[in-house]
Point group: C2
Chain length 182, copies 2
C-alpha cells in the first residue's frame, strides 16, 4: 500500500526554516546584497515520457543522497556555503541530520578559502543559530571516536550567533557573517 | 502516443561536454585543486509515492527552467560560476542556448565579485573555449536591440581561451582562470 500525496506539516510557527531562508535569499538578491541560492534536490531520474504535444513528464525518479550542502553563493567576493537544519530537540542537534559527504564537502570549502557554516533552528523556542563548520567537524570526529551523537545546545549559545528574526529579511544571517568572518 | 525511454546520442566523439566537465571537476576535487560541482537539474515534483517497505518514488515531475547556471564552486578563495554549452554550429554559438535568468544570474555573480564565464564546445572540430561572461552580456544586449542572434566563433578565438584537452584532467579550464582572472 502507498500514500499518493504527502501532506507537509508546517507546525505551529507557520513557515519552515527552508521557507524563511528562501525568502531571505530572495531579499538579498533583490536588494543586491548577496547572491545565494538553494540547490535543487538531487534526483535519480529513471523514466521520462515524451508526449507529442506537451512537456516531458518524469514518471519514475528517486531521491538521492546529497553530496554537497543545500545552499551556496557569493557575498562580498567570498564563496559562501551552508547547510540548514531544523530540530524539535530542545537540548541538542542530533548529528544524524548530516551525511558524511556533506561534512567532507564543508571541509573542502574551508580548504579552498570559502566560508562554511550551518544554520540551525531549534523549533521548540524558535531560535535560529549560525555556527561555523569547525564545530560540526569537531563533534563529527568525536562521534566517530565513540563520543556523543549530537551537538549540545550550549555550543550554539557559546560559539554560534543567535540570528535576529524580523519581517524583511526574515533571517538576517549575513549580519553574523559580517561580524564573524569579514 | 509517447516514447517511454529517451536514447541519448553521444555522437562520434564519445563523451559529451557535460561528461568531460564532471570528470574534470572530480579530478579537481580529488587532487584538492578546486571544489566545483554541477548543480542537480531543477524539477517540479508533483506526486510522490511512499510505499511501506521501500524508497519514496516520484511518479510525476517536470523539468523546470533553471534560474541559475549549471556549475559553481570555489577555487583559490574565489567564487566560480559558469554555464556549459555544446553546439554543432561551425561558425557561431546561437544565443537561444541561454535563458534570460541565466544572463541575469551571471551579471549578479560579477556584481558580487565572483568569476563568471561560459565553456563552449564546437562539436564539429572538437574545440572547447572559455569565454568571460562580459562577451555574452554584450551579444545578449545587442540581440535585444535587434542585432544578431548568436556569438560568432571568432569572438571565442579572439577573446576567449582554447582549453587544452588531455586525459587527466579532460578539460583543464582552471588553466584559463589562472591566466585570465588571477
Ligand atoms: Mg539538506
Ligand atoms: Mg544548462
Amino acid at each position: 500500500s502507498s500514500h499518493p500525496t504527502r501532506r507537509v506539516d508546517y507546525g505551529n510557527r507557520g513557515m519552515t526554516l527552508e521557507d524563511d531562508l528562501n525568502t531571505t535569499n530572495r531579499y538579498y538578491r533583490e536588494q543586491h546584497i548577496a547572491l545565494i541560492h538553494k540547490k535543487p534536490t538531487p534526483l535519480q531520474i529513471v523514466n521520462v515520457d515524451y508526449p507529442k504535444r506537451s512537456a516531458a513528464r518524469i514518471t519514475e525518479a528517486y531521491f538521492k543522497k546529497p553530496s554537497t550542502t543545500d545552499y551556496n553563493g557569493v557575498y562580498k567576493g567570498k564563496y559562501i556555503d551552508f547547510e540548514a537544519k531544523e530540530t524539535q530537540n530542545k537540548t541538542a542537534l542530533p548529528l544524524q541530520n548530516f551525511h558524511e559527504h556533506q561534512i567532507q564537502h564543508m571541509q573542502q570549502v574551508k580548504e579552498h578559502g570559502g566560508i562554511a557554516f550551518i544554520i540551525v533552528k531549534f523549533s521548540s523556542n524558535n531560535e535560529v543559530y549560525l555556527l561555523d563548520a569547525q564545530f560540526l567537524f569537531k563533534f563529527w570526529q568525536e562521534q566517530q571516536d565513540g563520543g556523543r551523537k549530537s551537538i549540545p545546545k550550549h555550543t550554539f549559545v557559546s560559539n554560534g550567533f543567535l540570528i535576529p528574526q524580523s519581517y524583511r529579511p526574515r533571517i538576517d544571517y549575513l549580519k553574523a557573517i559580517d561580524q564573524y568572518y569579514l
